[in-house]
Amino acid sequence: MIQGFSWLLLFQLVGELLVLGLDWPVPGPVAGMALLFLALLWRGGPGRRLAQTSSQLLQHLSLLFVPAGAGVVLYGALLAREGWSLALALVASTLLAMAVAALLLRVLLRRSRRGSEEG
């Protein structure tokens, strides 16, 4: 647990330093993810402890969003004014984006599969 967690924090730290040093608009953890991914490609896979810690952390991923979500208490007035328009725009747009992504990807994959069968 501790060993796996240390690796994750180390990559996050290096990602953070890289982003700050090069003044990229990407957040540190995302750079850290990319770096860890490259390291895994190079090494051929994660060690047992790192794999274990990561899967434990990812199992409870949705819990980690709760504190940010509770920030809703800061916007009582704004939500009373614009809450319905925000909710409607948000729900419609999320469903639309998901449907477009899923349908388009299905079409493209079918086409590329058919292409590879013929070719």
Binding site: F5, L8, F11, Q12, P25, V26, P27, G28, P29, V30, G32, M33, A34, L36, F37, L40, G45, P46, L50, A51, S54, L57, L58, Q59, L61, S62, L63, L64, F65, V66, P67, A68, G69, A70, G71, V72, V73, L78, S85, L86, A89, L90, A92, S93, T94, L95, L96, A97, M98, A99, V100, A101, A102, L103, L104, L105, R106, L108, L109, S112
Partner: protein
């Protein structure tokens, strides 16, 4: 007696322990409720926990800043969890690589749809300029979204809320939407969820299968990168269009 109770409350309310414990308990309660209601969609643990905690904060008159004093520890774990996504990504790399072309094309189209539809609908329904920034960026993961909002001059905490709600909506509706559209490939289900509903969509995709989770992580990561680069350029252009 009452004085003593007030003292205890003042001590606890300012401590890390109380709100950290309450956040975990509220989430556990949400998980328990979801199981009791046999996975009913509205008994989403995040939704339940956020509702409970917001009510507690408002009723006890606790500021969000002192809440984050404790719950910030959980919030912090988003960082290492994001890094950890590299592992399922690596495990599914051969399949991801074989689909690189279609995935990138879908990324470009769906990312644009997510930004423009949310911004446009918001503008049409009368959302203010700050809300429009937060709406446009709602589909990407919390840490990136908050950083980009700051650059654009919006309200980072409002963005965080809209991002979370987007994730909850995506997670809630995914199964029904996919059944209706007859999407059964876990790669497709995962990628679309991660792209449109970021980390919470990814969390939901891991419940479909590990493969769906890996594709969701990829969709989330790629959309986070694309939107954080493209939005600072795209949004001023959209706003100019509106001003005309």
């Amino acid at each position: 007696m009452l004085e003593r109770a007030t003292l205890v409350w003042q001590h606890l309310a300012g401590s890390t322990l109380l709100w950290l414990a309450l956040t975990l308990l509220a989430y556990q309660f949400g998980v328990w409720l979801q199981r009791r209601l046999r996975g009913h969609a509205l008994a989403n643990p995040v939704l339940v926990a956020v509702a409970l905690l917001s009510a507690l904060l408002l009723l006890s008159g606790t500021s969000y800043a002192s809440y984050m004093n404790g719950a910030g520890l959980i919030h912090f774990l988003l960082g290492p969890a994001t890094v950890a996504l590299a592992i399922p990504l690596h495990a599914n790399w051969p399949r991801l690589k074989s689909m690189a072309g279609p995935l990138l094309l879908v990324l470009l189209v769906a990312s644009l749809v997510a930004v423009v539809s949310a911004w446009g609908l918001g503008a049409w329904l009368g959302a203010g300029p700050e809300s429009r920034i937060s709406l446009a960026i709602k589909s990407i993961t919390t840490p990136i979204a908050m950083a980009v909002t700051e650059r654009l001059g919006g309200l980072p905490a409002l963005t965080a809320v809209l991002v979370i709600v987007t994730g909850i909506v995506g997670g809630l509706c995914a199964e029904a939407l996919y059944r209706w559209l007859r999407i059964d490939d876990d790669a497709v289900r995962g990628f679309a969820l991660g792209l449109a509903a970021h980390g919470l969509g990814t969390a939901r995709a891991f419940q479909f299968s590990e493969q769906a989770g890996a594709f969701a992580a990829l969709g989330m990561g790629l959309n986070g990168l694309l939107t954080s680069f493209a939005l600072p350029w795209l949004l001023p252009w959209l706003e100019r269009l509106l001003a005309r």
